[in-house]
């Protein structure tokens, strides 16, 4: 909240992968001290959010059902050090000094080393483990991406001053009503 802390800090919202895949390369440096590399930190946002991720699907007509099941289990449910997610979280899949990724399993993240030089040595998993609670599937529909896009576009217009708050909401709802087979309360 504005004015709540000791000093002014610049921050913006982003997904877990923003850190390594966008910010690090654009920070003006490659090690602490160069540009803003090492001056950043990550914290939980005021609103939880979850979107996408990586999905695994199996062909219903597969001839290797058992092998596929094993594979899916290994990818999604294996929290051991041999599991996919452990390697992913610690960045060991792409060789030494590989990029560390936030993974779905809180268990794995809790025992992984998420320390990043880019974050001045902060362990990013300390933030992402509790944030994982937001990643549940309780409110998903097949229209989510479209609805999300409509909402985002309406918000952008509102923040740009092109539409008033009420107009932006009406525009959003109109888009959903006109383009999707969904009943909308205006």
């Amino acid at each position: 909240m504005q004015g709540a802390g000791d000093k002014e800090v610049l921050g913006f919202y982003g997904p877990a992968w923003l850190i390594n895949y966008v910010m690090a390369g654009n920070s003006g440096g490659e090690k602490p001290g160069e540009g803003t590399y090492g001056d950043w930190a990550v914290c939980a946002p005021n609103v939880g959010f979850f979107w996408g991720g990586t999905w695994v699907l199996a062909n219903k007509d597969t001839k290797n059902a058992d092998a596929v099941a094993e594979l899916i289990k290994w990818i999604t449910l294996d929290p051991s050090e041999d599991g996919l997610q452990y390697g992913w979280a610690n960045g060991t899949w792409s060789g030494e000094q590989g990029t560390k990724d936030t993974v779905a399993s809180g268990t794995v993240m809790a025992k992984s080393n998420g320390e990043l030089d880019f974050l001045g040595g902060q362990n990013m998993f300390d933030v992402f483990v509790p944030a994982n609670a937001y990643a549940n599937g309780t409110n998903l529909t097949q229209y989510d991406e479209t609805i999300n896009t409509y909402f985002r576009d309406a918000v952008r217009q509102y923040t740009a001053g092109e539409l008033s708050r009420d107009d932006a909401l009406t525009a959003f709802k109109t888009n959903v009503a006109d383009n999707l087979d969904v009943e909308v309360d205006f």
Partner: protein, 306 residues
């Protein structure tokens, strides 16, 4: 012109006329007429759902889809945009093309390197519209993008401008892309038309002491009427089907400012809830509108058939 051969030694060649037209006609029936009728029928059904080919004719409320489409504010916006964007693109395009035509066919001021200019001006026409739109989306990026960099560095603006968030700006960019892609093509068509005018007319005018401007407005333009009408029709039809550019530039945004009729139809049918019936109804409505305007232009064209 010699009359075409009808009979020789009692053998009628007319049947070859039919014969050779058959492939075209069959292709028309299969790939054009049948889908068109199918679309018309779909407009009266409840067809929807990805990959769903079963549907039921709406017996109790046949016009349901048409009503839904006509009542949808998004559809009305789409139609309005389609016409607006076309006008915004066509007027500058035809103006510039006419000016360039006048310059390149001027008998008084011969411009060298015309061939080079023609090749270069036509170039934007061969590139994929989708690619251009993606490119322009990147060019007008905010906060960092080539155009913004240019504006800020030269001091024209203090800070970057969020082009893609401004309905006016995005519309002008769409119109500009269409203009950029087609002005060279239109110019070449017009020049070819001028080359088809009998040079003696021009010489007579010169001898009479007419200025270049007078020649252009009183001789060139009237003789270009047929071509101008042809350009008008083809541009209108192309413009009313505009899809690639606004779709790839900013997907109809901001706030559907660049949503065209074709995009609306695509969104109904191939995204979201895959409502084929509603999309079909919208297509038919668009068809009526296009047919109406084409008929008007066609009528004007027929009048002057020499």
């Amino acid at each position: 012109m010699n009359s075409t051969l009808v009979k020789k030694h009692g053998f009628s060649y007319a049947k070859y006329g039919y014969l050779f037209s058959i492939p075209f006609f069959i292709a028309f029936l299969v790939f054009n007429l049948y889908p068109t009728i199918y679309t018309i029928v779909l407009g009266f059904t409840d067809s929807k759902g990805l990959g769903n080919i079963t549907f039921h004719i709406l017996k109790d409320d046949p016009w349901k889809n048409f009503r839904a489409v006509l009542n949808a504010p998004t559809f009305k916006t789409a139609i309005g945009n389609t016409f607006t964007l076309w006008i915004m693109n066509f007027i500058p395009q035809i103006t510039l093309a006419l000016i360039l035509t006048a310059w390149f066919t001027s008998r008084r001021n011969q411009i060298r390197g015309q061939g080079f200019f023609k090749v270069v001006f036509y170039m934007p026409n061969i590139i994929t519209a989708a690619s251009v739109a993606i490119l322009f989306n990147a060019l007008f990026g905010y906060p960092k993008g080539p155009v913004n960099d240019l504006l800020v560095n030269t001091g024209l603006r203090d800070s970057a401008f969020y082009f893609m968030n401004s309905p006016k700006a995005t519309r002008w960019i769409v119109a500009f892309i269409q203009f950029w892609m087609w002005y060279g093509y239109t110019m070449i068509i017009l020049i070819s038309g001028v080359l088809g005018i009998n040079p003696e007319i021009f010489e007579a005018a010169e001898i009479d002491g007419a200025t270049d401007t007078q020649i252009f407005f009183q001789i060139t333009l009237p003789n270009l009427r047929t071509i101008l009408t042809y350009t008008l029709i083809t541009s209108l039809i192309g413009g009313l089907s505009m899809y690639d550019i606004p779709k790839m530039l900013n997907n109809g945004n901001p706030n559907n400012a660049t949503l065209t009729a074709n995009m609306f139809i695509y969104n109904q049918a191939f995204q979201g809830s895959y409502m084929y019936a509603r999309a079909a109804a919208a297509s038919m409505i668009m068809f009526v509108i296009i047919a109406f305007f084409s008929a008007i232009v066609f009528f004007l064209m027929r009048d002057r058939k020499a």
